[in-house]
Symmetry: C2
Amino acid sequence: MATKAEDFNEWYNEVVDKAGLTDKRYPIKGMNVWTPYGWSAMTRIDGLMRREMARTGHQEVSFPLLVPESEFKKEADHIRGFGEEVYWVTRAGKNELDVPMCLRPTSETAMYPIFSLWIRSHADLPLKVFQIVSTFRYDTKQTRAFLRVREIHFFEAHTCHVDEEDAERQVRQDVEIMDLLGRELCVPYLLNRRTDWDKFPGAHYSLAADAWTPGGRTLQVATIHHYRDNFAKAYDVGYEAEDGTRKFVHQTTYGMSERLLGAIVAIHGDDRGVILPPAVAPVQVVVVPIPEKGRQDEILQESRRLAAELAEHVRTEFDERDLRPGAKFFEWEAKGVPLRLELGPRDLANGVVTVARRDAEGRTTVPRTDIVTTARDLLRQIQHDMYARAEASLRAATVDIAAPGEARQAINRIGWCGSEDCGRQLEADTGMSILGTPFPREPYGGTCAVCGKPADAPAYLARTY
Amino acid sequence: MATKAEDFNEWYNEVVDKAGLTDKRYPIKGMNVWTPYGWSAMTRIDGLMRREMARTGHQEVSFPLLVPESEFKKEADHIRGFGEEVYWVTRAGKNELDVPMCLRPTSETAMYPIFSLWIRSHADLPLKVFQIVSTFRYDTKQTRAFLRVREIHFFEAHTCHVDEEDAERQVRQDVEIMDLLGRELCVPYLLNRRTDWDKFPGAHYSLAADAWTPGGRTLQVATIHHYRDNFAKAYDVGYEAEDGTRKFVHQTTYGMSERLLGAIVAIHGDDRGVILPPAVAPVQVVVVPIPEKGRQDEILQESRRLAAELAEHVRTEFDERDLRPGAKFFEWEAKGVPLRLELGPRDLANGVVTVARRDAEGRTTVPRTDIVTTARDLLRQIQHDMYARAEASLRAATVDIAAPGEARQAINRIGWCGSEDCGRQLEADTGMSILGTPFPREPYGGTCAVCGKPADAPAYLARTY
């Protein structure tokens, strides 16, 4: 098997397979099968999003998948941005359709004609909805499980507001939610305001959460867009203001996807397999009996009791299959179960349980009596340590450079005047992409590495997925 | 507004709109928008299915939406059955696809090539999975919210077994699950074994749950299919048996859809709106303050306290909008909230709360002190009564007839020898469809109403949706 250090890309592919998170053998490239295990992890991530949406007053909806070409083309930048990568339904049964319909690449063009019917007056605002659905992009680059797929498991929140400022408040709320989710998923990131030539098609501005992967590239794991009234004008989403005049709403969107699961795999996995954060691991604790000849029944029985006790408090699997313990360890490690408990004859004699943390080497023993408290404490500790380690890596990977020639396989912080010319030059000189400027703005006193003019903000340069 | 008694179809359309369960103004016919309220009800129905799947050892998966034409065409009956009503993706970006891909009308052809990889030996069996996804059918009949749509919110369980008998056991388990769900959703039904010419394309036999709607038609709300090894042979889903030989698996599927929500609307709704069973109502109790001049604050405060107390135990909405109580009643009745609590000055003075059951006329008062217990008891009673009333209607609508000429707008039970000729004749003579024969078989001593030969079982004849 490839090692993570030597061949990250190959390692990633293998580790995803070994964990059984997805099955890539479906006969359409980039459209993968969610296995029970992978789907369980993904829907736990969805669950965290749903919790946050409920907390912040968003309501869940579900819009149709198909968008008529006529609606899709109403926002000019949007169609320019997505036109090359949408799938088209042109036939139904044996009939050619009069108006082709595309599979949503994202749902602005499906939702906004309906928003224009739902919103009448300022009393209907803000409108805050979200959905978790499949979106489709005909991406011609090499596909990679979770990171670059053609059917994408997607979260999208869409909001409408009375004015730009209220939409701005929504952006800040989304940023806070992302902060929480990043911690729970153990995926730290830099939040960047994308350049104008790299923002979402139709957006006023775009923020993106860029995680750092050991493969030496950043990975965009979430985006937050402020649309101002660009889409509202194209789709006639207006309202009667308190003063009786008609105004257009200001809109935002917040998008995340299965890439978050890919980021967890990429950041935390090791040569034994993936490592899942306790917050989203389908199995948090696996109990493996270590039988001894003549005492099998006793050990199985005690292990079963241990597992049953734990199962009332944490997601527990009791592995009583007729396999060598070593084979079981190998499998659960590949699957990334955060905590393994073993119970053998010596443990039984000493009133202890042997524990192995998936995110650390070695084993220890803990008293059998407090096992539920101990397991919970350990899971909390694993959760904390996974985030801390990933954050340290992100920090270590973020370096200051003074000239494009110094750029390394890292996130390179460099002075930039903000002009497109100098930005493109930086990209050309480094062979990297500008991720944009930090959000929120930080004080910065540098100069542009290209033109030498004063720079309000640094730019981040990196290779990206 | 149309009344249910006079114009069921028009009433149905209006009542769905008034309740805000779906928005039919999406620019593609038969593809509707799930509003927050409708989606909340639907996902509660999904939740009951998920609970039952977990209880019976099914695992949730998610397969790709698109199926290559080459895979889709492998099972000959299946393609004959669905060929006329699938949507085809033929273009991606600006490229014509070499192999068109269809939007799943159901997922046999997406799943079974992968099952053939997942299953190696008898130890991998039974395989029991399910998914809840959108499916697509280009239905040319008139569309109707939840009952006949082109993007269908769909539940599908797929299982593989060592032999026909084990698959048969699965069918019986599905029947039990359906029984439970029917009670919770207050949708009673007749379980029929479909005729051979009406079974699922590719199935050995099909069972269907047919509910009775006041519109005078039956509505198929669930199907359970036994495939034997028909699909297994087409998709090469085999396993190594204990004796070392290679065998094909026997398969079953169990399908349900948003039609269940449509059935609830059709069966229970009245001229004031829909009535949702407490088990799936997004709001189980609405608390409406009845303010009196000069005592507004006190009444609002007490109502809020009441709602907060209830909210810890049942799904409660506190309606403190600045509207007349009558307008609020009207709206919550249209939405089908099972229980309404009112708190006015007289209630306050007497230490009581006024309660109105959505499924009954009139109001009563109950002591304020035991309100949580009272509300729970009432919800249980509503749940029970709704089912009982619907079951009585179904029984009343099921009539025995001796000759086709006696057929009424009902579910007509008639002797049938089982031959296709006589069956088609019964359909032609009545202008109705044969729903099939009761499952499980009941003792029956009649004769065929067409040929006069002995009949093993009666057939049910009805108009269908």
